[in-house]
Symmetry: C2
Subunit: 235 residues, 2 copies
């Protein structure tokens, strides 16, 4: 364990919160600890490792790449979360890669056997892992539906609506801060960065969104919602 | 419990195989049992039910519909399997619907609370549920990748390759029997039935597939594999 990775460093991992401090310290001793630079690979799609990655500090993006090198991203995991549990559960190859989004991202890697022992010994941890897997299925299922039924423009609208709903509300206006990176939106809805830029420019010209210095503002959330719902309903 | 649904009727449910016969009989008594006609809806996407569905007899398709009514199918569950566990785990609305594929499909519905008790009391059941959720994630993730990176023609090739690999092998030839329904392939790869027919006609003209009275034959599995891999690799 590195000097800055004391036994209490796992106290912020939500999955482990049902454990006692002693149990968490025991898990911490079983982990392999490593800090990563921003953009450094944490899990290699094609690698042999089957460890679970607990995100102690920083932030992690789960992603794959298309044959032409385009990034397809699946989820961003904040400090306190975890990823890579599927290979630890079923022993199959990684379904995606993961990279650090922040400099100094600290990961505690737990091997499949101790992870399975932990989950088997603590039904509440098992339920938490199941709830997280359900969340992953739901996100992927929604995305399959959107890719199957919506065009790229409407997928950008739908992603903007998701970001807006997570943002700060001021009446019917939603403030998304910081300004989302176009390439990030593109990789989340499987389109080109240029498409995202074009769609956002179109929405800005219509007065639906406004670009401030530090935030993207959706000026009429109801209208954006209607735009997405109309297409979803086949209007 | 209906007359034909005795306490031993859950003996074929793989998930419950770690239980004793007595424990399975106790679960059987907690279930609500119902037979379904072919094409009858078992789980309604918009319904309030959060029960797990154990497939005792018959076969079930998990699917959604696009706004224009096109079927998007996710998985077919054989007798002995289960579905609908996500809503029982996280309490959220159904992510998809389910319909019976065979006349007389017999379902045992288990409510969320007894399902959670069962899983919490039996770590091996919990692991089995996790492995099944991982499988669902992996299928959905592959599909997101295919929808994001492959055109409709190549997605039909990829699905044909999956069917061929599950079929009977005769040297480099794979026999897919019965002949897959074009609409089923279309709903699994999110395209139109006409696209599937056109792609299969093209492959037949090239001599890569052959349509027999009772089977679809892939005459050169290596060539089909190369066709799919070349596109995946961006060649």
């Amino acid at each position: 364990m590195p000097a800055d990775a004391g036994p209490s460093r796992l106290d912020g991992i939500t999955l482990l919160s049902p454990l006692s401090a002693e149990e968490r310290a025991a898990v911490a001793r079983q982990c392999r600890w490593r800090r990563f630079h921003a953009n450094e690979q944490i899990i290699d799609h094609q690698g042999e490792s089957r460890d679970v990655a607990l995100v102690v500090d920083g932030r992690v993006r789960v992603l794959s790449h298309s044959p032409t090198g385009r990034e397809i991203s699946f989820d961003d995991i904040e400090a306190g979360g975890f990823l890579g549990e599927m290979a630890a559960i079923d022993g199959l190859p990684r379904s995606a890669s993961a990279v650090a989004l922040e400099e100094g991202t600290l990961i505690a890697f737990l091997a499949p056997r101790p992870f399975q022992d932990l989950v088997s010994g603590h039904p509440d941890l098992a339920m938490a892992v199941m709830r997280r897997l359900c969340r992953v299925v739901r996100i992927a299922t929604d995305r399959v539906m959107e890719l199957s039924t919506l065009g790229a423009n409407n997928r950008v609208h739908a992603e903007l609506l998701r970001l807006a709903k997570r943002g700060r509300m001021e009446g019917g206006t939603a403030v998304i801060a910081p300004i989302p990176v176009h390439a990030d939106i593109a990789s989340r809805v499987s389109t080109a960065r240029e498409t995202v830029s074009r769609v956002l420019n179109d929405l800005a010209r219509d007065g639906l969104v406004e670009r401030r210095a530090d935030a993207l503002v959706v000026r009429d959330l109801c209208r954006l919602e209607a735009l997405v719902e109309d297409v979803r309903a086949g209007v």
